[in-house]
């Protein structure tokens, strides 16, 4: 099939507009990376605290995403497939964490997961603490970024033709089997995309983490503290490192996720 080689005027305009936006993102990135000298950069990141913090942040976001997968994907499926009373309320509830200012979310979570909180108290008695703890970071990240996963998964599920599941059922598959053999294989890409989104969002979480679990420090808290306490030059190397790492991860994930275009092959009989 011949590719269309001539660019229309619309292509030019859209590209230009898009370029403006890209520059908007690129400028801070480039400015940050080039703001510190290579030596400062090397010093700033060789600090063991930085690497620990990065690892911690990535790991906590990962754990939060995994939890959201197990709890959120089934919910997303129900929302995509079924009608039930109160559905609108539930949809609104799921989107709530996005709208709530994150410090407010942090305070709310503290009330629940603090040592005297509704959940914090019973869990503390079995040794699970949330403030000043990895678990708290996970909870904060989970709370504020789970809508991304659930919404994306729900959208993805609704794009899977319902009737495929129906046909699978008539062929003898139980609802679980239909879900696992038909729905999931068709939806997994979207779900993974939503997971990446959620993971990425979790990494950047600050407001809620600061309140619920300031320590151990995630990289956003670290940068903030460096900046607040020691000034800009202290914060720049870590920021730059984080930006580079994040970009690399996002690009890699896309490369893996987005399927290469399958070559069009007309079937016999005119491809009807």
């Amino acid at each position: 099939m011949n590719r269309i080689r001539v660019l229309s005027r619309m292509d030019w305009v859209f590209s230009f507009v898009g370029l403006v936006l890209l520059l908007f993102i690129l400028a801070p990135l480039v400015a940050t990376i080039f703001a510190s000298s290579p030596r400062d950069f090397a010093e700033g990141v060789a600090d063991k605290g930085v690497l620990t913090s990065l690892w911690l942040t990535f790991a906590a976001a990962f754990v939060a995403t995994v939890i959201a997968l197990f709890l959120g994907v089934p919910l997303a499926y129900l929302l995509a497939r079924r009608e039930f009373p109160g559905k609108n309320l539930i949809q609104g509830l799921i989107d709530l964490p996005i709208i709530i200012p994150h410090t407010a979310a942090g305070v709310a979570l503290l009330m629940v997961f603090g040592r005297r909180g509704v959940l914090g108290e019973p869990l503390a008695s079995v040794g699970l603490y949330f403030t000043e703890n990895f678990a708290g970071i996970v909870v904060a990240m989970l709370f504020v970024s789970l809508p991304l996963l659930v919404d994306t998964a729900q959208e993805t599920f609704s794009l899977v033709d319902r009737r495929l599941e129906g046909v699978a059922r008539t062929l003898g598959a139980s609802p679980w089997s239909a879900f696992g053999r038909v729905t999931l294989p068709l939806a997994w890409r979207g779900i993974v995309a939503g997971s990446v989104l959620m993971w990425a969002r979790g990494i950047s979480e600050f407001g809620a983490v600061v309140i619920l679990a300031y320590n151990p420090k995630t990289v956003s808290v670290l940068i903030y503290e460096r900046f607040a306490g020691f000034g800009l030059s202290a914060a720049l190397p870590v920021t730059a490192l984080l930006l580079i790492l994040a970009l690399v991860i996002l690009v890699l994930t896309r490369a893996v996720l987005v399927p290469r275009q399958r070559v069009d092959r007309p079937g016999r009989g005119g491809g009807k």
Binding site: D161, L164, T170, L171, G172, A173, S177, R262, G267, R268
Partner: protein, 387 residues
């Protein structure tokens, strides 16, 4: 044996109700109906994908009304095939054969049997079915690389693989072009005989229904209007709606009727399609007029009317013992349309009658708009039914 009893299904604003419909094992039942008549809802209810608000569905002696689809064993083929896009042809066909499938009750009556009795593994069965449907060269291909006809065969093979109690076909041929459709019609018939499958085939195409169906059920607006052999239904439609659906445009209200010892005379009239209104008197062989209390309709199939040209040339042979003097009408050709095999004419008597003749005959008779012709309506072809 599939039986629907007192079925009431609600789908949004639409309601479907089927009082009684039975399909004997190995029977090919066509469900004829216009779009939005509830055909898909009906099939999905039989398959178990929809829950009826009332009534029962029987598969043989089993009441499957409450059973989920995976335990019923009904094979479903949709109009757009609904093949699993992420699986290749072999995997699609074999989908129902893998473990992970709940067992439908063993030993129920009327299940389709494979022709081969040899015990086969899954791969063998898939290959066998593919061979039967002529798609064994495509086993590794994916649905998006297949033509419409090929996809249809895959969908059929997939449904047949599970040896279904009943095969439910939802307008399976509507998306295909003419020659492919005819080809697949023959295939379907052949397959059904070979598998001795019980089939419920839904369509809006009358000719398809006539070709394939042992019996035909007419579904209009969520209700069954008539069930019977196709030839029966088209000659004796149960009411005006069925008549229109089966291609009859000569539907006239009966104004008056006189029942005699020997015959029945009716007076029919009405306005049709832009023509003038008028009334004619006919002798009919039907005796049902008297039994119908209220309004009744006279229905005459267009190909049953005998056409005579002004010069006395007859379009087709007259049945024996025809009484030529009665039921002889004169009129003018209002409109004539030549098709490949037939010519359809509108003759203004008044009222306007639709008449079909073979095209060569129409040409031989030099018929054109404005030609004067005479119509003879055999008494036995006038069908009377309620409104």
């Amino acid at each position: 044996m599939i039986r629907l009893e007192g079925l009431q299904v609600q789908a949004g604003d639409f309601s479907l109700s089927v009082d009684d419909l039975s399909i004997t094992p190995g029977e090919y039942v066509m469900v004829l109906g216009p779009t939005a008549s509830g055909k898909t809802v009906l099939l999905e209810t039989v398959a178990g994908l929809r829950r009826p608000q009332g009534g029962r569905v029987w598969f043989g002696s089993r009441d499957v009304t409450g059973e989920p689809p995976e335990r019923r064993g009904a094979g479903l083929v949709y109009q757009d095939y609904a093949l699993f896009p992420h699986l290749n042809v072999a995997q699609n066909i074999g989908f129902g054969l893998r473990p992970g499938r709940t067992q439908a009750a063993a030993g129920s009556e009327g299940r389709s049997r494979a022709t081969s009795r040899r015990p086969q593994g899954t791969g063998g069965r898939v290959g066998e079915l593919a061979g039967l449907l002529g798609i064994d060269g495509l086993l590794q291909r994916y649905p998006d690389g297949l033509s419409g006809g090929e996809r249809q065969r895959v969908a059929l093979a997939r449904a047949l693989a599970i040896e279904p109690e009943v095969l439910l076909l939802d307008e399976p041929l509507s998306a295909l072009d003419g020659p492919t459709r005819l080809e697949l019609q023959k295939e379907l018939k052949r397959l059904q005989r070979e598998f001795q499958a019980t089939v419920m085939h839904v369509t809006h195409d009358l000719d398809e229904a006539l070709t394939l169906g042992d019996r035909m059920a007419v579904l209009i607006n969520g209700r069954l209007h008539q069930v019977g052999p196709p030839s029966e239904v088209i000659r004796h439609p149960a009411d005006g709606d069925v008549a229109l659906l089966t291609g009859v445009t000569n539907v006239f209200p009966i104004i008056s009727a006189v029942v005699d010892r020997e015959c029945t005379r009716i007076r029919l009239g009405g306005v049709k399609g832009g023509g003038t209104s008028g009334e004619v008197e006919l002798i009919v062989a039907s005796t049902t007029v008297g039994q119908l209390g209220g309004a009744a309709l006279a229905i005459i199939r267009p190909e049953e009317i005998v056409l005579l040209s002004g010069e006395g040339v007859i379009a087709r042979p007259i049945p024996e013992a025809g009484v030529l003097s009665e039921n002889l009408l004169e009129g003018v050709v209002w409109e004539i349309q030549l098709q490949s095999v037939h010519a359809s004419l509108e003759i203004d008597v008044p009222p306007v009658f639709s008449v079909h003749v073979l095209r060569p005959d129409a040409q031989r008779m030099c018929l054109a708009a404005g030609s004067r012709v005479r119509l003879w309506i055999p008494p036995e072809v006038v069908h009377v039914c309620p409104v």
